[in-house]
Amino acid sequence: MICAGIDAGSRAIKTILIDTENMQVIAKGLADQGVEQDRLASELFKRVLKKNGINKKDVAAIVATGYGRSAVSIADTTITEITCHAVGVHHLVPEAMTVIDIGGQDSKLLRLDTAGRVRDFAMNDRCAAGTGRFLEVVAERLGVELESLGRMAANSQDPAAISSMCVVFAETEITGLLVSGTASEDIVAGVQASIAARIISMAGRNAETPIIFTGGVAMVSGMADAMQTALGQTVSICPDPQMTGALGAAILASKQLKKAST
């Protein structure tokens, strides 16, 4: 039997299909998010099915998650991304106790129990300064690729202090730093530290280990190191970090199906 998860995030739509017999991923896909969220989600889903030779009739259940989940008409149910990310990470890293998820426009911290259930969570979805958007802004300003930020931060000698709580004003700060001759590497390191600092506010003094980092921002090199430095604890990047929400949704679709049949 096949179940699917669709994570309709604010920047990208992700989908995963799993074989419920062995809970293995059999297909996945990703597309940019846009205004017509339902159409984009449907088209992505169809593309992934076609590419992998799967018939829609063979998909027993679909769960949608993420910011735009309510708009995904092909989904049977919706579950929040908090629950889905927890399930997805637990599936990939069963020992995970703390999950840091930083996406394009929000960041979350989840505390899990040993069974992978969410015990507690905190979110920053008010200010873009703690999210992937901030990294995009600095990459644009410096005229570099997002992927190069990690390498640049690693070469920083003296990370710049970014003081604004708002990414719009922080953009002005970055300009100011460039004008004053601050090295680009130091600016990038400062931005990464600023993002990591917001996680500390959510994490408290001692986040329970292992700490797993997921979401699109986890794929930006250097961010895990910045998180580690800020928390003073080891932070590991989740395998396939951008897909954990969709994976969790697919697993939950499978669980819901099993529950319904018993």
Binding site: A161, S163, S164, L177, S180, A197, I200, S201, A230
Partner: protein
């Protein structure tokens, strides 16, 4: 007097220090080259500019060695009292005891600036749930957790009531971490009602007698607790003597401020004036040495003024500065932009006014505590600022918002309206976080624009 008064960098100070040493200039035991403090992590010192006088050197060394004095006091068995929020009242009483040293843990708010965030104090505050939406005084929490900046006091005394929310919340958080606090109440100072006996407070405010009595009762409680800590009784004679000593500090500061703010050419930089004023609130953990430091500074400024010498051009724009800055560098920046300080209100004018010596000492202290500009309305505070604008001849007002400070949200509105109504002078509000390096162009533009506006108005 130094040869040519000017502002110099830390590197230039090293050269100057050698000159002063060769000339046999007196230095106290905490003296030495300023640059040695950079090795302790005070990175900000590399970016500041300083007055080049021996008096200023002494002032800076005095400030930057306070932690040493506190540790020495602990080692010598003296009791350390951390007084919080009242900014100038409790230390007057505390220093009457032989065996007590008092200081403000609040002062840790400058550590992130001075150490350029290197101490990690703000991150600790973040982890305790006290994030950047709170005032930078949250660094104090980090200082208590690490214990790396001052010895943990034997007793903490904190005023609440008519105080700012963020400090109150931070202090409660500290209490919640297991630090017992002796809380005392400062009521919201109000004008006396027609059927109430009015008391004229130092500094010009008035309050009903019942409020003075209330504060007196609070100070009695503090006195009793300090007596228990010190193992010593504090009678009226000792308290009066302590008040006289505190007044010595205040008299020097009053004279210094008057000279510095009214002289034709600015005789002392804004940064040194800020540090000097701060000495009033708890004497930098050595009351007698505060008097000595201020005396030397006053002598230097007096001779500069007599000689018509200053550190800035004569046409510098005269700016009245409201609220202390979290980043000391901004005081330099004002002068770089062509401005000079002509009047200040750093939240503690009650620590600068003379404590009445013709009243029973506890009554006098109570009146002084109630004269705290932050304990009353923003309107009162604005009226006092207007009085000082008139006295010092300021041409503009700069209100420096403290990021996250609850009082700044609305009081700036009130103060600027009242000042504009009375004087029709420009009023500018800027926000100054602990490290402004990245915002320097923005802050610079604003200060420069203010100075340009002031100078353009002179031509009309």
């Amino acid at each position: 007097m130094s040869d040519i008064p000017k502002r110099i960098t830390l590197q230039e100070w090293d050269l100057r220090y050698e000159q002063l040493e060769k000339a046999g200039t007196y230095e106290p035991d905490y003296g030495g080259p300023l640059s040695r403090h950079v090795e302790d992590g005070d990175q900000r010192l590399l970016k500041l500019r300083y007055d080049n006088s021996a008096a200023a050197l002494r002032l800076w060394n005095f400030l930057l060695t306070e932690e040493d004095r506190l540790h020495q006091a602990r080692a010598a068995g003296r009791k350390i009292v951390g007084t919080m929020k009242d900014l100038g009242t409790v230390p007057v009483m505390a220093y009457c005891f032989e065996n007590i040293v008092a200081f403000y843990p609040d002062g840790a708010w400058w550590i992130p600036c001075v150490m350029e965030l290197g101490a990690g104090l703000l991150e600790i505050a973040d982890s305790l749930g006290i994030d950047e939406s709170f005032c930078p005084v949250r660094a104090m929490l980090g200082a208590f957790v690490t214990g790396a900046h001052f010895p943990i006091p034997d007793m903490l005394v904190c005023s609440v009531g008519a105080t700012c929310d963020d400090f109150s919340a931070i202090a409660q958080r500290l209490n919640g971490l297991g630090h017992p606090i002796f809380w005392w109440e400062i009521p919201h100072r109000r004008r006396p009602e027609p059927d109430e006996t009015a008391v004229n407070l130092p500094g010009g405010f008035s309050a009903p007698k019942c409020q003075v009595e209330f504060v007196k009762s609070q100070l009695e409680r503090i006195k009793t607790t300090l007596e228990g800590l010190a193992g010593e009784k504090l009678d009226e004679r000792k308290l009066s003597a302590g008040i006289k000593k505190a007044n010595q500090v205040r008299r020097y500061l009053t004279e210094l401020r008057h000279l510095a703010f009214t002289a034709e050419r600015c005789p002392l930089p804004a940064l040194e004036m800020l540090i000097a004023e701060m000495l009033a609130i708890h004497f930098c953990s050595d009351r007698q040495e505060t008097i000595n430091v201020l005396k030397e500074l006053l002598d230097e400024v007096t001779s500069r003024v007599r000689a018509g010498k200053g550190i800035l051009d004569a046409d510098a724009a005269r700016i009245f500065w409201v609220n202390p800055v979290a980043d000391l560098q901004v005081m330099n920046l004002l002068e770089d932009c062509g401005g000079r300080i002509c009047g200040t209100e750093y939240l503690f004018t009650h620590a600068l006014d003379i404590i009445p010596e013709d009243l029973p000492p506890l009554e006098a202290l109570a009146q002084m505590a109630l004269a705290d500009p932050m304990a009353g309305s923003s309107i009162d505070r604005a009226e006092r600022i207007c009085g000082d604008i008139r006295l010092f001849g300021a041409e503009a007002v700069l209100i420096s918002r403290i990021p996250g400070a609850s009082h700044c949200a609305l009081e700036g509105l009130v103060i600027s309206e009242i000042v504009r109504d009375k004087f029709d002078i420009p009023v500018l509000e800027i926000e100054v976080p602990p490290v402004t390096d990245s915002m320097r162009p923005t802050v610079h533009t604003r200060l420069e624009a203010l100075v340009e506006t002031v100078k353009a108005r002179r031509q009309k």
